[in-house]
Symmetry: C2
Subunit: 466 residues, 2 copies
């Protein structure tokens, strides 16, 4: 970034913005922009020069052209729930907040699609689909407040990834504004479309570094007819991992297969009070869905498999309300843990499922080695773990140990064929480790693509790579 | 392409190739290379300078470096079953035929993955998964002879697309050799991985224009416990289309929902003799799979829905053998039609499902307008139609009408929000129409990506765009 760009925004830039969007849609005062100076990632803060709230795709295009003219970096954000610092502003940058572009434009039941503006809240999308008897499966932990544009930018996962995949698997089309302000539509309502390169999927997960997603066309599914939630309790962590392997080996793909270690489950129980077994070493929260007969068979098989691997108990949720309560408790894991210490650093490593048990043991050993408090929960069925370091960013000595532990966890993950980030994105938090995972060739390939699409480097610069 | 590249290959180039691969792995004699001068696409032929059969990824990298040094275009191919001319050689080019790199390297039941070399036959991959009690769903019509590398290059579809998606949906990782001979691994065994841009999906469907895919890591599914095949007969085409809409509206997603018009079904019956109703205006071949109870319920619902839309009969396959026979008959549609006239031109347009009935009527009107013999079959559930023009490439007057009809069909497709190609790729056949579909901005974006990854334009030049 040039020195000019890092400086305060010139009056001409700001007045052109206000003239186009209206003064109430451009924030520049320190107290107004403060809430846009961070996202859900611990220990990262930076004020932008201004925050703009475009109302239309044309507004976004205008903002990008103006920013280019003034050589000013642009950082796009939705609700700011990201956990890798992907939407952290740069000093002097323009933040484009798409929260006002939040309309659900169409639910097309004949074609099983939903079209929405990028600022639409994920939960509202789920509800709009549900109202039409349809189902939008991706359910990131933050779905009640996250925007679909943010989900697309980070390719968010969620609790149903094992059976239903992640955000990418439901993106049929995107409207994207490119760095030069031109507008593209990528993809279509056709369930098969091989006309040209798949650039849609290039934008999914690109963290605002290649363009600004303004509209999303999503695939919906028929709603599953039945669901059953199970809670399996284990006195040993290894047994929980073995149960997961046994379930997959039995050719059962539950919709949800979540794991909480003792630290996390105690903390969640204190917070949510749903009756989780505080003495268990680990619990699995399992949901199966589909045809009632399939659900019944799978639930029974899962009970037997967990018991065979040494589960001390396997309980079925007696009512839908109880099932929702359990899922909500699991969703609260991050918030619950965040209450324990001033700073909560959430890891997002993912390993092939067969490496889960070993990986969990490795995280425990790393916590001991660096004398840190690490609680682990995650999407076990996906091999996606969230070791959560409970710390205090003001304690510099401890933060050094946190960094060292972070590096050890990454090393261990890569040794096992895993990835440094399963669903949170690279952003700033994982940037130092990306090259190590991808290797020089693939890493250079990313940079090549970035340079081709954003030659002046104005779109969310410094994220993913330098 | 430079004049130099279009000329016969220099001796130095060929001898370096032979020295590396062995003389038996480099073909240059006219009679030897003749079979590599075309693919499954009608009316396209062009001899390359040489055909090389690399045995390893390093061989491929060597070939690309050598070709670059000699500024010689490289066209990669597998079995050459493509239907858009994607693997048609250029004059003077080097054809890289990956047919000798056909090993299935690993079936990992714990992680539900299969790794294979790009030249592995799709059917063998299906069988290897099946032997492990697992399921590789994509089943392009040519799967008995097509290679997985070709499937990836074209992002091939198949008969199970409606429920299970296409090749892309099963590609977890790719080994790719880039234009400069460097080797990248894109993706991993992790079911969630958001580390950096998704370049894996950029290569899927890129038709050999961005790099050479040498290895593929595929996702497998548990094998469905039960299947049921149904054959619904209609006296009116519209009723068949309405039945498809009714099935989807009832929130049923069959695994297969295939359509044959009267011309096609008569032709298939003459060829395969499986007892298809020759007098029907159209038939639907429907398969549902999954839990036995779900299959039973869905089959019953489908029967009722078809009857309600005026099906004259709905029959269930009584045995698995009968089901296979019906599917095989459907798979023979292209071959059966190809016997009728010297030249068979297969269209591949796809529309949103809700546009199916209108699109079929439009194709009939276009056939009448241009006095052509067009038979239509396709993957109705995907909105993917294969209007097949039965013609004779030696009849120039008729071929002009074929071209005009082709353009009309494309126009009609785009008007309905469809795509010029659902599963066959752009290659040479659809190149003239791509810009019209994508619009200037998206089209330029493709070219930008191509230039970034293949700055010298040596990888399958002239395919997708000029």
């Amino acid at each position: 970034m040039s020195t000019a760009a890092a400086s305060a925004a010139p009056a001409a830039f700001l007045s052109a913005l206000s003239a186009r969007l209206g003064a109430h849609r451009v924030l520049t005062e320190r107290e107004d922009i403060l809430p846009y100076g961070f996202d859900g990632t611990a220990a990262l803060k930076q004020l932008p020069a201004a925050v703009a709230f475009p109302a239309t795709t044309d507004d976004v295009a205008f903002c990008l052209r103006l920013a280019r003219e003034h050589r000013r970096p642009v950082v796009t954000r939705g609700s700011g729930t990201g956990l890798s610092g992907g939407s952290l502003p740069l000093a002097g940058s323009l933040v484009l907040c798409l929260a006002k572009m939040d309309r659900i434009l169409e639910v097309d039941a004949a074609n099983l699609t939903l079209r929405a503006e990028a600022g639409a809240i994920t939960q509202k999308i789920y509800e709009a689909a549900d109202a039409a008897g349809l189902f939008y499966p991706p359910d990131p932990g933050s779905m009640k407040i996250s925007t679909i544009g943010g989900n697309v930018a980070e390719n968010s996962g969620g609790l149903r990834g094992l059976k239903y995949g992640v955000t990418r698997d439901y993106v049929m089309g995107l409207e994207v504004v490119l760095a030069d302000g031109s507008v593209c539509w990528l993809g279509s309502k056709c369930v098969k479309d091989v006309a040209g390169y798949n650039l849609r999927d290039l934008f999914v997960g690109s963290e605002g570094t290649l363009g600004v997603v303004t509209q999303v066309l999503l695939k919906l599914l028929p709603k599953p007819a039945a669901r059953q939630t199970l809670l399996a309790t284990f006195t040993a962590m290894d047994a929980a991992a073995a149960a997961v392997s046994a379930i997959i080996a039995a050719k059962i793909i539950p919709c949800t297969l979540e794991f909480l270690d003792q630290k996390t489950l105690r903390c969640v129980e204190d917070f949510a009070k749903v009756g989780l077994p505080r003495d268990a070493a680990a619990i699995l929260l399992i949901e199966t869905d589909g045809h009632p007969a399939a659900v019944a068979d799978e639930a029974e098989a899962i009970e037997k498999l967990c018991a065979a691997q040494g589960a001390s108990s396997v309980k079925r949720a007696a009512t839908p309300a109880e099932a929702v309560q359990l899922a909500t408790a699991r969703r609260s894991a991050f918030s619950a843990l965040a209450r324990l210490r001033p700073t909560t650093i959430l890891e997002d490593v993912t390993v092939p499922r067969s490496e889960l048990a070993g990986m969990i043991r490795a995280v425990e050993a790393i916590a001991q080695k660096h004398q840190l408090n690490i609680a682990t929960f995650g999407h076990f069925g996906d091999g996606n773990l969230h070791p959560t370091i409970l710390t205090d960013e003001r304690d510099h000595a401890e933060m050094h140990r946190v960094e060292a532990a972070f590096a050890d966890i990454v090393e261990e993950t890569l040794k096992r064929g895993g990835t440094i980030t399963g669903e949170h994105g690279v952003g700033l938090a994982k940037k130092p480790f990306l090259k190590r995972q991808l290797g020089d060739q693939s890493y250079e390939l990313l940079r090549l693509v970035k340079r081709a699409l954003d030659p002046e480097g104005l779109l969310n610069p410094g994220k993913i790579f330098d």
